[in-house]
Amino acid sequence: MALSGNPLKGGSMNAPFKFHGGIHPPTHKTESNTRPIALANLPAKLVIPLHQHAGKRAKPCVSVGDYVLKGQKIGRPEGRLSSAVHASTSGTVTAIDNQLVAHQSGLSDLCVTLIPDGLDQWIDHHGVDYQHTDHSTLRHLLRQAGVVGLGGATFPSDLKAYGNSNKIKYLVLNGAECEPYITCDDLLMRERAADIVRGAEVLRELLYAEAILIGIEDNKPDAIAALQQAVHASQHSAIQVISVPTIYPSGGAKQLIRLLTGIEVPAGVRSTELGVQCFNVATAYSVWRALHFGEPVLSRIVTVTGNVAQPQNFEVLLGTPVQDLVQQAGSLPNTNGHIMGGPMMGVSLPSDQVGITKATNCIIESSPTLFPPAAPTLPCIRCTRCAEVCPAELQPQDLYWFAKAKNFGKAQEFHLFDCIECGACAYVCPSNIPLVTFYRFAKSEISERERETQAAEQARERHEFRQLRIEREKQEKAEKLAQKEKAAETAKLAALVTANTEEIDPDEAIQQRIDAALARAKEHAAINTAPNPASQSTEP
C-alpha cells in the first residue's frame, strides 16, 4: 500500500501503479470539450423516472394534478437501498404511469410526467454548516436530496459515505473519464473545481479518511490544472491530484484504485474493507450543492455528441426527453439511434422520448458512418488477445466458451463475476464476437438461479415447519383429549364415592345441611348486630 510520493503532502504527481491490459480506442473527446457547459432549454414536458438509482424504486408522494415547486420531493426513498426523486422545475403533475425509460431492457417503468409552468420557482430550501452537523444527519440529508453516484452506477451516496467500522485511508475521487466521446466530468472539473474539492472534503469528513486522491486521465490537462488550483486555494493539505495514463478502462473504480494506491480489490470484497472508498467527481459536486445550498439533485451535466452539428455539454434538468436535448445540439439527418453512455459500455435507447436520468452522462447520436454495422461474427480462434487486454486479468475466451455452453458453474469458477463488462475484449476480438453480451447473459442467469435456489430453500423451510406444526397440533390435541377423558373418569369416580356415602344415611345428610344453613344464618345475624353494643357504649 506504499505510495512512491506522500499523498498527505499535497500537490500533483503521476500515477505510481499500473493495471493489467487495457486498450487505446480513439477518444473522440475534442469534438465536445472545446465548448463551455450550456444550460439546456426548459422542455415542454419532463418525464422523470422514479427509479434513477440502484436499489428500490422511490415511492411517488404526489398525485396527478398537483402543483409542485422546483426541488419538491415527488418520490420518497423506499427501503434502505433507495433514494429520493425531486421535481426538476415548478409545474403541474399530469401523469404518474409506466413509460419507456433509459434501460437496456427497453421496458417501461413508473415515471412522473411534469408540465413546467416556466417560472422555475424554488421550494424553500437552505443548506447546513456541515462542520457543525452530526454525520447521521448529513447522511440523511444526502438521502433526502437524492444524491447518488453520478458516474453511472447510481449507488446511493449516503450508504457509501460510511466507513462501517472499517478504517478508511484513501478517498479516491474518480475524474478519469476513460470512455471515448464523454467529456461531462472534464468540463465539470474545469468549470466547478472549487465545489468538487469542497464536496470531497465533506465526504472525507464523513469517512474519516486520511487523504483524498483525485485521479484524472492525462488527456485532460485543463481539468488537472483547474483542480490543482482549487486544491491550492482551499489550502487542504491532504488532497492530491494525480494524473493517470490515458488507457481504457482506467476509470473503472477497481482500476483507478489500483492505479492510485496499488490496492487490488477482489470480487465480493468491498473496497472499504481495504481502506479505500471511491466517488465520482460529479458526485462530490452534488454532495456540496446538497449540503451547503440545500439543493437536491435536479440536473446533471450531459455530453451530447456523435452525429450532431454542435457537440457540447449541457446542464440538463432530469426528466428532459432525449429528443429535446439533442435538438439543441443540432441533430443531423442520418441519425439511426441514440446511445446513452459511451460507445464501449453504453446502452442504446428504446426511444428518443425517454427522460434524462441521474445515470445519463452522455448521449451519442449514432449514424451508419460513425458506427458502421458490425462485421459478421466468426468462430473463436483462441488467439487470447482478449486475455491480453482484460483489466481484470481473466480468461475471456474461456468465459465465452462456458457462457455459450451455459456451463455456469465453470464460468463462476473462472471468476466471471470479476468481469467489469468494460468491453475491451470485444474491442480487440479479431472474430468480432460480442463477448460482453455473453458475460451479461451468464451473470444475470446465475443471479436469477441463485435467487430461485434461495426461494426454494425458504419454501422448503416453511413447508417443513408447517408439517412440524401440524404434527405438534395433532399431538397436543391428542394429549388434551386424553387429559379430558382422565378428568372425566376421576370425576365420575368421585361422584360414585360421594353417592355411596350419602346412601348410607340420607336423613343425617339432610340434618347436616340444615345445621349448616342455621350456622350461616347465625353468623349473618351476628355481623348485623355487631355495631350495636359499640354505639350503646358511647352514649352516656
Partner: protein, 182 residues
C-alpha cells in the same frame, strides 16, 4: 497350520468388529440421495407429480418408483439435472404436464368470505387471515402451486403471471447472425 488359522480368524474378528463399530458410529440418517434429489426440486410443494410434496416425490424417485419427468415447475432443466444426478437418460414431459409461466396467487378481497380453507391448503403458509376476516397472499412467499384454488368455495383466488419488469429482467442468450443477409 494352526497358527495360520488363528491369524486368519483374528484378522476376521478384528475386521468384523471394526466394520460393526463404524456401522453404528457413522450411520447415515435417512437416504442422502433423497436429500440430493430434493435439493434439485423447486420446492413448490404443488403435488403435480402425484405425490404430496417435493420430499415424497424425491423419496419415490430415489427408490425408483417414479419417473423423473413428473415435475412441471422444475421445467425441462429440472429433468436434465435429475438425469445428470441419477445417471439416467433425459425424458421429456408427458402430455398435460408442460411447465407454465411463473405466477402467484391473488385473492379478490371483495369476494373473499374468510372461510380459512385456502389457509389450510397452502403448503408454505403464504396466506394470512382468520375466520370471517379477509385473507391475503404474501406474494414473495407464494410458490404458485395452485393448491389454494380448489378449496375456495367462492372462487375468489386466481393465478397471476409474474410480468417482466425492470427489477426481474434478465439478459437474453445472445443471438449472433453468422452471415449478414445480402
Amino acid at each position: 497350520m494352526i497358527t495360520a488359522l488363528w491369524v486368519m480368524v483374528s484378522i476376521a474378528l478384528f475386521l468384523g468388529a471394526a466394520l460393526g463399530y463404524s456401522a453404528i458410529k457413522f450411520k447415515v440418517q435417512g437416504n442422502p440421495l433423497v436429500d440430493k434429489i430434493d435439493a434439485v426440486l423447486p420446492q413448490t410443494q404443488c403435488g403435480q407429480c402425484g405425490f404430496p410434496g417435493c420430499k415424497p416425490y424425491a423419496t419415490a424417485i430415489a427408490s425408483g418408483e417414479a419417473p423423473i419427468n413428473q415435475c412441471p415447475p422444475g421445467g425441462e432443466e429440472g429433468i436434465h439435472k435429475l438425469a445428470d444426478l441419477l445417471g439416467k437418460e433425459f425424458i421429456p414431459f408427458g402430455d398435460g404436464a408442460a411447465p407454465k409461466a411463473k405466477s402467484v396467487a391473488f385473492i379478490d378481497e371483495s369476494t373473499c368470505i374468510g372461510c380459512t380453507l385456502c389457509i389450510q391448503a397452502c403448503p408454505v403458509d403464504a396466506i394470512v387471515g382468520a375466520a370471517k376476516q379477509i385473507h391475503t397472499i404474501i406474494a414473495p412467499q407464494c410458490t404458485g402451486c395452485e393448491l389454494c384454488l380448489a378449496p375456495c368455495p367462492v372462487d375468489c383466488i386466481r393465478m397471476e403471471v409474474i410480468p417482466e419488469e425492470i427489477s426481474n429482467w434478465k439478459w437474453r442468450y445472445p443471438v449472433i447472425p453468422l452471415k449478414v443477409a445480402a
